[in-house]
């Protein structure tokens, strides 16, 4: 149970174009145990999806490039292995679910064939076995197996996403990466899909990386959470602790920005300003221009990761370099 499945070290991913270099992921480190779950949270441009594509080896060939660090999955560095070896891992040991269930399925193949295809390609079953297993997988995600002969357009949005989950889990992967899996779904359908992901994860002991901008969704499913900002993990820790007592000013800002069902707030406290341009990396702390606690030191000195009682945070306040002015003290 406690075996380390995935270990990302100092991963740096860039998109290189003719006239600029976009620093999408800047030296992130993350570990995931077998059966564990982590949520990647952040706003557009934080580097969540680029992190996922780096793990999957799905970065756009011409522009996307891992320029540093390693991704060790079951002892192998995924950044170093050749494409044909990666192809055996992708969809087999590591699967990914994408945001939009409408465009992820092939409209001219029956859903049964699409599930069976994965099993055949990875050579885990003969055609007959694969078709039988496809039916089992459909039942596992709560769709009657008779419907395996139907086409994607005959399914609703929620059911399509369940078919995609069935495809992703068909080869019983060790790691599932779900990128905004419920964002396109209505809230009652979202609840169904989240419950299903949670139940299947427990049943199959799959490890999960859940990417979402929705803090509530991550709170429902994950044990740990990594808060991403401008290509960095600025805070990491057990989800409940991070959400109850954030240590990084950005996490605090994020929690104060969202309207909460449980609280009767009359006014929100948004984070001022905007995410920085990812093609320019200023010195010092990347969050400084928006940080309510920033001091002069923050403009010149880049914060490092500080570990405090099982939590990681990247902020000079926690390095003891400037005074900690956040309301809650976590010392």
């Amino acid at each position: 149970m406690d075996e380390l499945l995935l270990s990302i070290r100092e991963l740096t991913t860039q998109y290189i174009t003719e006239d600029s270099v976009v620093h999408a992921v800047n030296g992130i480190s993350l570990e995931l145990k077998t059966g564990g779950s982590v949520g990647l949270v952040g706003e557009s441009g934080a580097g969540k999806t680029t992190t996922a594509y780096s793990i999957m080896g799905l970065l756009p060939k011409l522009t996307g490039k891992i320029t540093g660090g390693s991704i060790i999955f079951q002892g192998k560095d995924l950044t170093k292995i050749p494409e044909d070896e990666m192809r055996k891992i992708r969809g087999n040991q590591i699967s990914m679910i994408f945001q939009d269930p409408m465009t992820s399925l092939n409209p001219i193949l029956t859903v049964g064939d699409q599930i069976a295809e994965v099993l055949e390609i990875h050579g885990t079953a003969t055609k007959e076995e694969a078709i039988a297993k496809a039916g089992d997988m459909l039942e596992m995600v709560g769709i009657p197996r008779e419907r395996m002969h139907e086409y994607p357009h005959q399914f609703s949005g929620g059911m399509k996403q369940r078919v995609i989950i069935a495809i992703a889990l068909a080869c019983n992967p060790k790691l599932l990466i779900a990128d905004e899996p419920t964002t396109a779904l209505d809230v009652t359908i979202q609840a169904q899909v989240l419950r299903m992901i949670k139940e299947l994860k427990a049943k199959l002991n799959t490890s999960l990386i859940l990417i979402s901008h929705n803090l509530g969704v991550v709170a429902q499913v994950c044990e740990n959470v990594a808060i991403m900002y401008a290509g960095r993990i600025v805070e990491y820790g057990p989800l409940r602790q991070v959400f109850e007592a954030p240590m990084h000013p950005y996490t605090e800002g994020l929690l104060n920005s969202i309207p909460r069902i449980e609280l009767d707030k009359t006014r929100l406290s948004p984070i001022r300003g905007m995410m920085p341009d990812p093609s320019v990396v200023p010195p010092g702390c990347i969050f400084r221009p928006r940080c309510p606690y920033a001091e002069q030191e923050c403009a010149v000195r880049a914060p490092r990761i500080t570990e405090k009682s099982g939590r990681n945070v990247m902020c000079l306040m926690h390095e003891g370099i400037i005074a900690n002015k956040m309301r809650v003290d976590h010392a």
């Binding site: 706003e43 557009s44 609703s156 949005g157 929620g158 209505d186 809230v187 009652t188 359908i189 979202q190 609840a191 169904q192 989240l194 419950r195 949670k198 901008h213 929705n214 803090l215 509530g216 969704v217 709170a219 429902q220 989800l239 409940r240 959400f243 800002g253 994020l254 929690l255 104060n256 920005s257 969202i258 309207p259 909460r260 069902i261 449980e262 009767d264 707030k265 009359t266 006014r267 929100l268 406290s269 948004p270 984070i271 905007m274 995410m275």
Partner: protein
Amino acid sequence: MHELSGAEPILQVKNLKKYFHTPRGELHAVDDVSFEIQEGRTLGVVGESGCGKTTTGRAILRLIEPTSGSILFDGMDITSMDKHRLRMIREKMQIIFQDPYSSLDPRMTVSGIIAEPLIIHRRVSGKKELARRVQKLMEMVELEDRLSSAYPHELDGGRRQRIGIARALALEPKFIVCDEPVSSLDVSVQAQILNLMQDLQDQLGLTYMFVTHDMAVVKHISDEIAVMYLGQIIEKSPAKELFRHQYHPYSRALISAIPKIEAAGADTATILKGEIGSPIEPKPGCRFAPRCDYCIGKCLSENPPLKAVGPERYAACWRAEEM
């Protein structure tokens, strides 16, 4: 948020219906919806895809012609108005759209977009006054002066939505339909826009009809909330009270399904059985009955009307009192 005064409702919608013809029959997008909004207040309209919330908003402005029913704005029935009078009254009724990108002309500059309604409705005499008015509007929505000659594609989603708001405010409206205005924005920008909309409401005494699928946003911004399901309002309540107690089984399921931060890991969602029914030629009886755990014989034959179930609370359910 806003004091309840003895003010007259600025908008009264009575038995509004919008049916669309389809090859398979009449699609009841909005089916007998009635409500009022008091001046200076916000009515939130929530529901899932296909519940008719957007169609209701557009029908109120007659951007879509209603099939039947009446819409009284400031006491005047706009459903029977001719084009000329409708155009005059539309100055007072505006709309903000979800996607600020596709609702802005990509070939116009920021100041051009904001100036356009002022020019069309001949609200200014001379270029100087126009420039002054545009500048004032940009200030109101906190858009930097230097952006006046920028094009929409050069701006981020938050700023684009500010342009949409400035344009809606140009003709000094009293009422604005806000159709998912923050749904495509990141949370920190979403908070900035929500705060701006509240400030503008306080300063200008605006009345909002706020259409969204986001339950947390609607709770935050609204004074009163109407929950829609398959073309009908199934519950109406003061905003905060709705989240404390629900009289309709659908509202209850909807609110239970919201993933909450506080209850990390605790799955409290009531999962609805089946899928949303078809709005085409709906069967008699309650639209929600096939998915409802409280369904009794009467629910299958008679559609329950929206009726009072408590102070300021309304529900369309035969068993609301038992809930």
